[in-house]
Structures are given as structure tokens and as C-alpha cells.
């Protein structure tokens, strides 16, 4: 098969892989599960920042 003919197949394969990966992340809520694990690190970072509190 010529290289040119393979391009649509490769695009289809890449699109299919993109769908499988992103749909798995979406459906099992993996994006939110990951960001919820990150939150405590950010909060710790903000707690250690110097603040100029003023009323």
C-alpha cells in the first residue's frame, strides 16, 4: 500500500485512539479525580505565602 493510501487509515487510527483515551478519562471522571488530588498541594503552597493583611 502506498504511503498516500495509508494516511486516511492513520488518521482514523489516531482519531480512534484519541476517542478511546479521552472518553475513558471523561466517563470515569479521571480528570476530576486527578485535579482533586492536586488541590491539597496548592492549598499548602498558598498557606506558606507571605500576606500583607490590612483592614
Amino acid at each position: 500500500m502506498s504511503k498516500l493510501k495509508k494516511i486516511p487509515l492513520m488518521l482514523l487510527g489516531a482519531g480512534g485512539a484519541f476517542f478511546v483515551v479521552t472518553f475513558t478519562i471523561y466517563f470515569f471522571n479521571l480528570d476530576m479525580k486527578l485535579t482533586s488530588k492536586l488541590e491539597p498541594f496548592f492549598l499548602k503552597h498558598y498557606d506558606t505565602m507571605p500576606r500583607k493583611q490590612y483592614v
Partner: protein
Amino acid sequence: MDIIKNPRKRDGEQQLGVLYDGGKVRRRREWRGFKDTFFDYTRWLYLVSVLGKFIMNPYNVKGFFRYRWMANYLGVMHGMDKFTIGLRDEALRITHYSFNYVIADVTQSIVNCFRGDRRIRNDEEFSKHCVLTDENAMTAQMMGFKAEEARAILREVPTMFAANIFNQNSVIHYIDVAQQYGIPGDVCPMPESEAGISIDDDFCVLGSCAVQVNTTCDGSMMGNGLIAKRLEREYGIPTFQLTAPLRHREEDVQKYAAEDMKKAIAFIEEHTGAKWDWDTYFQRAKNVNDCTRKRMAQLDINATPYPQFFGAAFSLYNDTNYMGNCGRDPYFVKLDKKLLKLAEKGYREKRMYAREYRHRCIVWGVQPQYIIDMLYWMLQCWGVVPLTDMLSMVNTRMIAEEDTPENREQAYYDMAWLNENMIMRNRTHGGYEVLVDELWEFCEQMNADMVMMWEHMSCKALDGMHGQFEEQARERGIHLVWVCHDLCDPRVYSRQAIRDQFNSYMRTVMREEPLDPTIEVLPDENAW
């Protein structure tokens, strides 16, 4: 009312309790059948692209590490899922399109804040054309300024208001800071947390001047005082107080309000160097009128047995469209049209979004419904349809939109009218007619047999009316369900404590059983 049964079986998940496992986020996303799950997935991809683009900008990354409130945006998708629970077909699409644009709008606000912020990008040329505008304003005073000359920056929106949609704990730190400095705990947590953000030096600092308003309430004015003091004394940003009369329906206060509006505009011209442009103003006035017509058409559909655009998304969309936008963003005109078209289609096809509709409910009072998915829960758990809410019952008057000498004078009165009738404030201020009497008129117009009264325990504006509501609802045979909460402080009233009040009413007074018993009690105390 007669129970309306849904003749169609809902595709996908039948019992929604399976999605909750007591964690910060849901166990998984809802299966809505192939067509609607795929649609939900494509909107998720769209939001990933919006957030991905945002985080590619190094200044936004810098802002992320500087500001504590940015961490709440880790939960954007969770917030979106909250407001689509159980939805299918047109209602799912309407909720996504409206709410997704609100998210995109907030994202742009953050980008603008960081661009002008003295601590982040410090683009001075951009900053000198920015006007810090109170989030509790209708922003009508900005309608005649071109964005490149004077741009409204509502910095409290991404900092406090929107952040709280995505994370119920978003302002706890700031409330604690405010209370450490002696502000009492019985103040509304919304202005209290804004005061706390200012004390904690966690607001972006930008702009050539600021405009604050006395809408909505005494708590808001308390917070504004502290914020203005820091803006003026520490950052050298002069602040104008735009004061709307309390009795906003009285004719004799309108001249004062219009004069104050003129002064606010002159103040902005003086500090930004921008020039008021009547062509721009009247074009935006047309947009505001268009938005009002479309909202009234949506309410007409909701008055039928087949409401389509409802819940927190309806309220939040109206909130953004009138206050954050107020005619300035032409995309809202297109979006209003698209949403109405979807709603009309849903109505024609008699779409229902629960197994049965048992009660038609108006949601009234000062609401926490952005923090909790209460309105969608009421529908799915008890078959109670939230037809509309107090925030969505805003301006119905058409403002002058043709450029004539008379209308140029009328325009100040129209802008003052919009400001006086700011969302929520148009009901909580102005006497019992606008808060109590008109509620019963809306019940009649919308064919409602139930009112869910949010009782915000720290809101002084509604406290005195409790007895009148009780007495008059009883006279009219309306089921009045009081649900107490403390807005954005979940330590006082947790989500389940809020739902339990509704559950108790439905079981003990109405003697009904839930449609979906798996969500009557939800383990979401620790959820974002």
C-alpha cells in the same frame, strides 16, 4: 396540581445515587444513553480546550500560583456535572450551551484581570482603560463606552462568585480571615468573604478607577467600605459610590438615580480618558431589550406543562447576561436565539426531564443554588419542577433604543432603572409589593402550586417578611417550603442539612415518596 407522567422512558441511568461515593468528586459520569452521553462528552472536550488554552498562557500559570481562589477552578468540570444531573435532550443542550458560555466568559475575565494586574502581567496601557466594577452592579454605566477605551472588570466574579460554583469550600479561608479581624459571623458570607479577600490581599490590582454600588445590601456596603479603603489608600485607585434608591418603584426617586448615573459616567470619563459614545450605547440598549424579550419567551414556555430552560443554569445565565454583560457582548444575542430555538423544539416535542412532574414550583428568596445542585435534585428526587427563581424575575421594561435627543436624556433614567433593578435586589429592596405581592402574581402566571423559599439565615433583607409569606401562602393554598441555608458557608448548613428540610416537607406534609430514593440522602458533604 395533576401529576403529569412522562410517556417516554429515560435513556441510560435510572437511579442517580450510584454516581456518589462520598469523595470530592463523583464516582463516574452519568450514562445518558449513547446520543446524550456523546453530546455531553463533546461539551466536556470543548471545556477541556477552553481550560487548556487558558493554562498555556504563562501569565495565567503565574496567577494560578499567586491567588488561592484559582485552586477552585480545578473543579470546573465537576461544577458543570452538578448542573446537568438527570438531564437529557433539549434541556441538556440548553444547560450546556448557556453554562459553557458563562464559563468561557469567566475565563476571559480572569485573563483580563491577570493582564492588567500589577503583580502578574502589569500591562499598564491595558490597565488604565479598566474600570473595577462591583459584581453587584448591572454595569449599565458602561454601556456607552467602547471596550478598548473603558472596560468593566468585575474582579469579584472570578475571585468569589464563580469560584464558589465549582467548590463549596472556596471562601471558607476568606471568611475566617474577615472574622479574625473582628467582622461578626452573622454577616452574609458573600460580602464577608469579599472583605476577607481584600484583607488577605488576594484581589487582582488593576484599573484606573473603581465603581461600587449600594446594591445589594447592608452586608455588601460593609464589605465595599473595606475594599474601597484599600483600593484608594494603598493602591491609589479612586472609587465612585453609585447609590441606587431603595424604593426603586417610586417615581420621585428616579431623577436622583439618573443624576447619580450621569456623575458615575463623568467619573469614568475623567479617570480613563474614554468618551461616552451614543451609537455604542443605543446598540447595546437594543441588545438588552432583545435579551429581555427572549427571557420572557423562555418564561412563557416555562408557564406551560413542559418547561425547558430551568434550574440554576437559567438563573446563572440571566445573572451573567444582565449584570456581567448588560448588552456589551453581542454573542449573547446569538446565544439567546439559539437557546430559545432549542426550548421551543423541546416544548413542541413535549419533552419532560423526570419520570413524572408532581408539583410546579417557584424558587424564591436569597438563593445558594449555585453551590448545591438543589433545583435539579428536586426534580429528579421528588418530581418538583423549578419553573423560575427570584433572580430570573428581573427587568421586563423595554428601554429606549433609538438615538434621539429625548432618548439621550431618557437613557440616564433607563440605566438608573437597570441599576436600581439589579438582579435579586429588585426583590429584596423596594417594599413588600415587589417581594411578597408579586410572588403570588408569578404563581398564577406560571401555574405554580408550590414555592420553595430559600431562607438565608444571614440575610437581613428578608427576615421581616417571614410571617407575611406564611400567612398569604396559606390563604392562597400554595405549598410553602422553607429551606434554611447560610449561602456559601457550608459549615453552618451542609448540603444534606439543606436537602433534609425539603425531604421532611415532602414526606410529612405532602405524604409523598421520592421518585428516586437513591438520592434522597447523598454523601456529598466532602464534595467540591
